[in-house]
């Protein structure tokens, strides 16, 4: 706000020059007009500056002890040199027990990193599919353009409830209830997926064009036909790309839930953290980083196939695999 004040006074100077020969009433009117125009054109920027100031003051109010930042560098260097580096790549070598049955070149498939990673991927995959199966009907119920309020509000409440806790808390819960292992992880991530994916889905459904819905209403379609004959094809692109996003998201979070004993690569990270073998931990982290990066790229590409809207013909899966020269005569 103080910013705007200084600019206002500047604009008054300019005005003053212009109206030296004119009457002062006009200059006053001009000043207000210019000030309000300035406020109007830069209000979002001023708001943003205001938010930054607030954020800084809030941090200060929590007594952050800024002085501690000064030691960060030393701590980091010591920690890095003494325990982190170099990474201990034994994590991608086959475990001593159980005996590795894979072909000699593939012995890495018996390593803890590989086993953990594959388990995390499996958990994410199953949780995404299960979660989607449950969240889609729920999101239909939660959409206000499909369901009356007395249906949509309870459905929203259910969805909000299952995403209000992060998946690691759900994992903790299921580990306590049904014990250690990937099943707890699957259930935890499924619950979270229902809430999160369900919200994305009902927002997509509420965003679809009103026209097809009205036509469907006029024709007299039932709930089932409207949901699966109209809504599903109309919003399919959005829904598919959200599922792909959700799988990627679940994989990223799946690396963590092992820490509370719910399966996946997080189990090993937790194990070696306890033994203070940070060089092994960093090896796992690097592997996770690389896999997440790859999955991220694959996910972006896969989703790009389903976000098009226009006159471009979407490539089908087989057309990606074939050279363009073979495709040209297949166009109809």
């Amino acid at each position: 706000m103080s910013d705007s004040g200084s600019k206002e006074s500047k604009s008054r100077d300019v005005d003053g020059d212009q109206v030296t020969s004119g009457d002062s009433i006009e200059s006053k009117v001009d000043f207000i007009a210019i000030a309000s125009r300035f406020w109007y054109s830069s209000r979002w920027f001023l708001l943003f500056i205001g938010l930054l100031v607030v954020a800084f003051r809030v941090t200060n109010s929590m007594d952050p002890n800024w002085g501690r930042l000064a030691n960060t560098n030393n701590n980091l260097v010591t920690f890095f040199q003494e325990s982190l580096w170099p990474p201990d790549w034994s994590v991608i070598e086959a475990q001593a027990y159980p005996p590795c049955l894979a072909a000699p070149g593939l012995s890495f498939t018996c390593s803890t990193a590989w086993l953990g990673m594959i388990e995390t991927l499996k958990i994410a995959f199953v949780a995404t599919i299960l979660g989607m199966t449950i969240s889609f009907p729920l999101s239909l119920l939660a959409s206000r353009n499909l369901s009356p309020n007395w249906v949509s509000y309870p459905a929203r409440f259910l969805l909000a409830g299952s995403r209000s806790l992060p998946s690691i808390i759900w994992a903790l819960f299921f580990v306590i209830v049904i014990g250690f292992g990937p099943l707890s992880g699957i259930l935890a991530m499924t619950v979270y997926t229902i809430g999160y994916l369900g919200k994305l889905q009902y927002e997509t459904i509420e965003g679809i064009d009103r026209g097809p819905l009205e036509a469907s209403k006029a024709m007299g379609h039932g709930w089932f036909e409207r949901s699966f004959g109209v809504i599903l094809p109309e919003s399919a692109n959005g829904l598919i790309s959200q599922v792909i996003f959700m799988f990627e998201y679940n994989f990223r979070h799946g690396t963590v839930i092992g820490i509370v004993g719910a399966g996946g690569i997080g189990y090993y990270i937790n194990l070696y953290l306890k033994f203070l073998q940070y060089d092994k931990v960093i090896a796992y982290l690097i592997i996770i980083f690389i896999v997440v990066l790859i999955l991220d790229v694959v996910s972006i590409y896969a989703r790009s196939l389903f976000t098009e809207d226009g006159d471009v013909r979407r490539p089908s899966w087989w057309s990606i695999l074939l050279p363009p020269s073979m495709l040209r005569n297949k166009e109809d």
Binding site: G211, E214, M219, G220, E225, G229, V230, P233, E234
Partner: protein, 239 residues
């Protein structure tokens, strides 16, 4: 003795009760009739059709369809919206099938042979057979309009509400679409209300031509423009 299929009594139509688009409308459309409605843009023609289709609540008055005081039941009413309401990412076939399955007994959509037959038949009648696997978004404006018409024909409804369904078509295609629809209406003794801007076309297809203006639906008076203007002036000046 023809029976009244659409009956509106003292109907107020629009979105705000203080300022309805159409006031105190009385309208009776009999079975087998074709009624065309014309009028200036933004006057409420589409809103009138949407009200009859049960998509916009009436502000006041009464409406009966088939003598019943309720909305049309499943498949009874076919609506060709001005903006078509097609599913852009689905194929022509899928869109038309959605119409057919509302009036084919006891079948859920992929499995009914009767629905399938009707779908293909009306796609063919609209001359878009070679596009039946194409998604709507890749069709031209006129082709999309014909898909919406095909969807309604496949439905075999007793009432058709058509909002400018002949737009964007060349003369020849327009004639063919028009004759298919009027044929359907005549042979099945159905009822058609059509919003049509082209007065001469409207007169040719319809039994009655109504003009929506000043919140009222009046019979079209075929007089030279000068006469109409002077009549209007008379009305306004209360002579």
């Amino acid at each position: 003795m023809s029976k009244s299929v659409i009956h509106l009594e003292n109907a107020s139509i629009g979105f705000s009760p203080d300022n309805p688009l159409i006031k105190n409308l009385n309208l009776d459309v009999n079975q087998g009739e074709i009624v065309a409605i014309a009028g200036p843009s933004g006057i409420g023609k589409t809103t009138l059709l949407r009200t009859i289709a049960g998509l916009v609540p009436m502000l006041d008055g009464e409406m009966t369809l088939f003598g019943r005081n309720s909305k049309a039941s499943r498949g009874e009413l076919g609506y060709i919206p001005q903006r078509l309401g097609l599913i852009r990412h689905a194929s022509v076939y899928h869109n038309v099938l959605l119409g057919a399955l509302t009036s084919t007994a006891g079948a859920w959509f992929p499995f009914s042979f009767e629905a399938r037959r009707r779908t293909l038949e009306s796609i063919d009648a609209m001359g878009i057979s070679e596009k039946k696997r194409t998604p709507i978004r890749l069709l031209s404006g006129g082709q999309q309009r014909r898909v919406a018409t095909a969807r309604t024909l496949a439905q075999q409804p007793s009432i058709i509400l058509a909002d400018e369904f002949l737009g964007e078509l060349d003369e020849e295609t327009m004639e063919s679409v028009l004759s298919k629809v009027t044929n359907y209406v005549r042979t099945n003794n159905a009822t058609l209300i059509v919003v049509e801007h082209d007065i001469s076309r409207a007169k040719r297809m319809a039994d009655h031509l109504l003009i929506l203006d000043d919140g009222q639906l009046n019979p079209f008076v075929d007089q030279p423009i000068a006469m109409q203007i002077s009549m209007r002036l008379d009305k306004e000046l209360d002579i």
